[in-house]
């Protein structure tokens, strides 16, 4: 056990010092069909299955059930674990754009040349082979909602991607998931540029939505009208095809987000939301989903009133939420959403709610619940294998299955 942990450490952690910077993804050759057998299988589509079997074929879940009901065909390879869960979903990150080295040439999460740039696609910036993608996968995370970071009023688009670590085009699930907006201090442009105040930021956002509305009408009337890439995207927001992902922490900024959403009848998902606990009834009434800041986020600046109890408080108020690793400008360069969930459990979030927030609820929030997030026959074979309670500090992730491909990254 110790020896293999150590070996994995060298495989993923230390390789950078000894080998070329970007080792190829650790994918085993895909077996066409195999079985995963576990003492407990959390399907998240019903009660946990004791002594469960998941049959995987051609990238999908073929059958799932109790071992007594689902026979493993003779000769089929079997991968055993104590606990199996759906592959975990990090409901908001910047991994793949904010690279591991944190030097200028690997930081593509924030373009500062203008305050409003909804035309920036995550797909064109996502670096699938950044070591942090494989790092997250080694902790059971098989899907990430990632993209442009907070820090500009409209910083760009986000995407949903599986953590194979191959390429954006091969691994993408949803190329345009949300449009990232930052309100409050984090959205200030600085250097005397607009927006310089909260009120100016909201005015500029409203202006942008208004112009996009006019643009959409013009394009509808005249197919030859010149294309504006940014307004094309904002028009999708106005058609409710794509939500705004509004990063805001102070209560008055969260209220501003709800105000704009109501005025323009657009969908918003609130990100960070450190003071959301001061306005739970409003959030519940608005039917808005929240991605609470990482539980261990530093409570400085706009997060000074943050609490590690936020996920529990959202749950008890009936506000839909999923958990995230967020954006980090320094260390840890990427948080691990599994760990953030663990600390939320340590602060009162029930474990089953935490697991839902990392699987079925996150899938729904990211619009991928038809494909992943629960273990059901016909869905993508996205699994995480554990040697115990996934949330305990001392449990190991043994590996993952993504689209039927085994990644034996563990035990880690």
């Amino acid at each position: 056990m110790l020896a293999s942990t150590f070996a994995v450490g060298f495989g993923l952690g230390w390789a950078g010092a000894l080998l070329p910077q970007e080792p190829p993804p650790a994918a085993a050759p895909p077996a066409r069909a195999f079985a995963v057998v576990a003492e407990t299988v959390h399907t998240m589509a019903g009660p946990p299955i004791a002594d469960g079997v998941v049959l995987v074929r051609d990238g999908r879940i073929e059958r799932i059930g109790k071992a007594v009901d689902v026979a493993v065909p003779d000769g089929m390879p079997v991968w055993r674990a104590a606990v199996v869960t759906p592959g975990l979903i990090d409901a908001h990150a910047t991994v793949g754009l904010s690279g591991v080295l944190n030097v200028r040439h690997d930081q593509d999460q924030l373009e500062r040349s203008a305050a409003v740039q909804p035309e920036l696609r995550a797909l064109d910036a996502y670096h699938a082979r950044d070591p942090l993608v494989a790092w997250l996968r080694s902790f059971g995370i098989t899907t990430v909602h990632t993209g442009h970071a907070p820090g500009a009023l409209v910083s760009g688009q986000t995407m949903v991607v599986k953590t194979h670590g191959r390429s954006a085009d091969q691994d993408v699930v949803v190329p345009l998931a949300m449009v990232a907006v930052t309100l409050g201090d984090g959205g200030r442009a600085g250097d005397g540029k607009a927006p310089g105040t909260r009120a100016k930021a909201v005015a500029m956002l409203r202006e942008e939505l208004q112009r996009a509305r006019e643009y959409a009408a013009k394009r509808a009337a005249d197919a030859e009208a010149p294309v504006d890439l940014g307004r094309e995207v904002m028009a999708q927001v106005l058609r409710k095809e794509v939500p705004l992902l509004v990063t805001a922490h102070r209560a008055h900024d969260l209220q501003a987000a709800l105000r704009v959403a109501q005025e323009f009848d657009v969908r918003v998902v609130l990100d960070g939301a450190a003071e959301a606990y001061t306005m739970l009834p409003e959030l519940q009434r608005a039917g808005v989903a929240v991605l609470p800041h990482p539980t261990m986020a530093r409570t400085v600046g706009e997060l000074k009133n943050g609490t590690m109890e936020l996920p529990r408080l959202l749950l008890e108020a009936g506000v839909p939420f999923a958990l995230q690793s967020g954006f980090e400008s320094y260390v840890p360069k990427s948080r691990v959403v599994l760990f953030e969930a663990g600390v939320a459990i340590g602060h009162g979030l029930p474990a089953d709610a935490a697991l839902r927030a990392l699987t079925a609820d996150a899938a729904r929030l990211c619009g991928i619940d038809a494909r992943t997030g629960t273990l059901v026959a016909g869905k993508d074979a996205d699994l995480a294998l554990w040697d115990g309670d996934p949330f305990e500090y001392t449990t190991h992730c043994l590996g993952t299955v993504i689209d039927g491909i085994e990644y034996r990254d563990g035990p880690r």
Binding site: G13, T299, N305, Y330, G342
Partner: protein, 433 residues
Amino acid sequence: MVGCSRLLLALFVLPAMAAAQEVRVFRGARIVPIDGPPIDDGVLVVRGRVIEALGARDAVAVPAGAEVVDVTGRTLIPGLVCSHSHIGAVAGADGSGPIQPEVRALDSIDPRDPGIQKAQAGGITTANVMPGSGHLLSGQTVYLKLRDGRTVDDLLIRTADGGIAGGLKMANGTNPQRDPPFAGTRGKAAALVRAQFHRAREYQRKVAAANGDPTKLPERSLGLEALVEVLEQKRVVHHHTHRADDILTVLRLREEFGFRCVLHHVSEGALVAAEIAAAGVPCSVIVIDSPGGKLEARNLSLETGAVLDRAGVLVGFHTDDGITDSRLFLRSGALAVRAGMDRDQALAALTLANARMLDLQDRIGSLAPGKDADFVVLSGDPFAVRTQVLQTWIEGSKVFDLDDPRDRLMAYGGYGASEGQAMSMCCFGQGGQ
């Protein structure tokens, strides 16, 4: 007049003495002394500020008149010792130069900084509070007992000779690299440090040669005085260092000048574990949730503690607060266990090993008769994700109680919990932004 002042003294001192001799007995917990086997259903007897006795329920008599505290089902461990922290709004050297040994961290500490209360909430009772790593030598560190105090003096630890306990903070690698007069390269950094230690040796020789004659003493240098304490092994160097070659540079300088030192962070320590072990130098290791964030931490690994421990190195962990949160310090040990470290060693790495690195192992770091009554009451296994720090005691006084609403706010967060809290993170945002 003399009699009157003696009476006044007695009036002030006697009540304090009486309070100091209060006897409390904590009964029923699983006691983990660190320097001995765990005791189930144990008894801990605290007289005044020190531990009087501990053992199994039937082996330790409850002194007459003692207040009995029922801690049945709880786990009792020594107060945690953080060997590297930046709480208390600490600051050290300024931008005027790379080497400033005369600067003392203690002159910057705000005892009301919420970071101190949050550290209490994490079970931390002693911390090495240090200036940052943006200098080759950023000043004198201060070892604080996190007592509830009004001034920094209330938090100081006095050494046997009446001095203030603390070390000296040094750094190499990229953090202290800047434009002149700072070093721009590793070679220059080492040369500046060596030249400074030669000046300290010269100062030391002149002071010795004067043999107490004030006319022959060199002009007093506050900075060189501190470095002479380092040369005489009275003050420990706490050296920030990440990359394997930088770690070896510290060992080389230590060999040349004979100082005692603790290596801090040691992101690539596993690559040079044998060399560190051969030098007999302790390591204060940081546990971070992912590698990277800066070039020299690209190979940071959760296995570092386990690898160094197996190589025979004295291993401690630290929060580097605000890099990691003091309230979650136990988690650093737990993640090291996840990565293969022995559980007992991981718990020692949060307590007694760190006490050793601060030369305080005779007073803190384990539960033993005669030691300071610094301990933590936990709801369960120290390394379980649901375990709560319920109470923190320092020298027989309770400084944190999760049942107290104000303390709970500090422990979990919420409106006002971090008001005015200073954030000290060297080089935050220098990396990629």
